[in-house]
Amino acid sequence: MPPPDEINDADERPLELILARNLVSIISLAAFLVDVDGDIVFFNEAAAQVIGARFEETGSLTREQWNPEFGPFDEHGRPVPYDELPLTIAVREGRPAYGRFHIRTDSGSLIEIEAGAFPLTGPDGYHGAMVMFWPLSTDGEG
């Protein structure tokens, strides 16, 4: 972790994300947090079991890192750009949203998931989203 004097304002997480992480880190439902840029800034242990990688290993993932690697993909396995995902659009407009799509696990398999996303909007605007998801198929059945 960087020492205090190496942290700049852009690194500092807004309280909405900090409190969301406190919740996400202790629940047993798979969940992750994205920041205002769409970067994954945290995912919990339950999510790690679905995708096959732990947050302590991956750290934060930029959209460019996770989008082609983990998904989302459509039912034919074609990548769906994060910005075009209906769920992304809804959340950025400040609405909770629900969606189904496929993700690729660490083993290379595609699995279908359901996801519910909640915008983390504070007095000064949108800070990101909390996404909870659950697999509809198991690894290898997607």
Binding site: M1, D9, E12, L15, N22
Partner: protein
């Protein structure tokens, strides 16, 4: 920059001799800066005596509210400059969805809780949402951020000529987080407190008490020390004393705090805040 503590107590005022040493008034801190500006952090009952002290000489005042819990606004109605026709007072506070700051404060300064209405204040009073980006009042740069407490609650950092005071009187950064090892980017309030000349921070509970109050928005001694350690503040005043802690208990807590602070390898001065205490930064 001179920082004077007019109220260091949390939750409810504590009158009587048993608390006279540390003081019984609720949160209020005066910050006097080089250009003569008076900035006041919170309006607990400590602000009454402050108002009496400055009413005749300070006509341009800023009150910076961290949040609107009663122990942080109770003194507003008894703040003499608000009844001075020549005074100009700006009250800053956390934005909240749906209701303006003035309207939220008017729930307290109105019938049946008050004999006067907020519109009856004689001074020229304005109410402003605290900006989420840094701003200036005279020579002072101010920064405010939401911090972990119940309801919209701000911490403040005031900086002048390289000296800074960070004020986080109601804060529970350790909720769901190990402050000793957490990435500082994920510690509530860390940016405000980082390397401050003086950190004024919540320490309402001893460690045993905290177990029964987890999630109430306040810090244990252990978390207050861990937060101060991670922030690398150059001086620390532990604040917002529990109303159930009399002077004897606070003396004991202060000794314990000093021992644990020293054992942690920190040599920055650390103490329990006392009403009437001043710091020259």
């Amino acid at each position: 920059m001179r920082v004077t503590l007019w109220g260091v107590r949390g939750s409810i005022p504590v009158p009587g001799p048993a608390a006279a040493g540390f003081g019984g008034n609720t949160s209020c801190v005066q910050v006097t800066v080089g250009d003569g500006s008076e900035l006041i952090l919170d309006a607990g009952t400590g602000i009454r005596a402050l108002g009496e002290a400055i009413v005749a000489r300070s006509r341009r005042l800023h009150i910076l509210l961290t949040h609107l819990h009663l122990d942080h606004i109770q003194g507003l109605m008894f703040f003499a400059p608000l009844f001075d026709r020549d005074a100009e007072v700006t009250v800053w506070g956390p934005p909240a969805a749906g209701r303006a700051l003035r309207d939220r404060l008017a729930r307290y300064i109105s019938n049946p809780l008050s004999p006067i209405e907020i519109r009856d204040l004689a001074a020229r009073v304005s109410f402003e949402d605290t900006p989420s980006t840094p701003w200036r009042i005279g020579d002072v740069e101010l920064r405010a951020s939401l911090v972990a407490h119940r309801g919209p609650t701000l911490g403040y950092r005031l900086t002048e000529d390289g000296s800074s005071v960070a004020y986080l009187p109601d804060h529970e950064p350790g909720l769901g987080e190990d402050l000793g090892t957490a990435d500082p980017r994920w510690i509530s309030g860390h940016r405000l407190a980082r390397d401050a000349s003086l950190l004024i921070h919540d320490c309402q509970y001893d460690d045993a008490e905290y177990g029964g109050h987890r999630g109430w928005g306040h810090s244990s001694l252990a978390d207050a020390l861990a937060f101060a350690r991670r922030s690398e503040a150059r001086r620390v005043a532990l604040f917002h004393h529990d109303p159930g802690h009399d002077d004897a208990r606070l003396d004991a807590l202060g000794e314990q705090a000093a021992e644990r602070w020293a054992a942690g390898g920190r040599d920055a001065p650390l103490e329990l805040a006392r009403e009437g205490q001043s710091f020259e930064l």
